[in-house]
Symmetry: C2
Subunit: 162 residues, 2 copies
């Protein structure tokens, strides 16, 4: 809410809210892999700060994120539509509507990939623990939260992208 | 997970997980008002600690909680089935599947009531900020988190129930 004097709505139709305008914070070549993903930040409309909730759509061929784990943040997903594959560093499983999965901080690396011809829609939740870091076992990238909500990405040797 | 050596599952069918055995932590006469409510704690199965996620069902006549607000905890709901009424201290609105609402700490007092003849099912999320308190504008009760996950309820004058 840019206007802090405006009262938040009582409720919203999730799919009618605007998608995030910036498709991803990743640098190239990872940014382009996220173009078949659309996130609607839901919690922000109500002024929530302790955690974020997104309604996320993966078009065919899309993926939720790079294979990753957080050091401090817990994450959770609940599938609403479609059949994504949950890929982790300890195996994979096909999901369907009504299935859920959780990813504790420092747990399995994970991401969702849509290998089907239909869209996938799910709810994703992540808290905003300070000092969080992201690690990516399959890609030469690492992430540190420099300030609340502000991520800095580098190669694993610490050199910057771009 | 009582067996800490057991790896959490990759994913679960939410509705197949067991409901919480204790229907409510409220003392009487409030406990009995929660008997038409069934909560399945989902995040705990995966070892999440920063926030909780429940799949919650309200049978006809059920309510999600007493009208309440938290001092520290943010909350969020996403409706999966049925048509509950969101009652707040600033007005009410009928919800339907695909609608969502968020309740920031120290924001509107709120609860869901099922005034229909059909079940209501929704996902609810709340973080676990330490030092949280619950306040209840319509009832003579107050809550303080004495230890993580352990709530103490008293009357508003501080005298104990029971």
């Amino acid at each position: 809410m840019s206007d802090s004097t405006k009262q938040p709505p009582l409720a919203l139709v999730a799919v009618d809210t605007p998608p995030r305008t910036k498709p991803s914070n990743y640098p190239e070549p990872f940014f382009s892999r996220m173009l078949k993903r659309e996130k609607r930040p839901l919690g922000d409309h109500f002024g929530l700060t302790n955690f974020g909730v997104n309604l996320t759509r993966l078009f065919p061929g899309g993926e939720s994120a790079l294979l990753h784990r957080h050091s401090k943040q817990d994450e959770f997903i609940y599938i609403l539509e479609g059949r994504p594959t949950l890929v982790t560093d300890e195996g994979e499983i096909d999901l369907e509507p009504g299935m859920c999965a959780g990813f504790p901080a420092a747990g399995r690396a994970h991401h969702l990939v849509n290998r089907t011809a239909a869209d996938v829609v799910y709810i994703e939740i992540g808290d905003r623990s300070p000092g969080d870091e992201g690690s990516y076992p399959a890609d030469d990238i690492q992430a540190k939260m420099a300030a609340p909500g502000h991520w800095v990405f580098t190669r694993k040797d610490g050199t910057p992208y771009g």
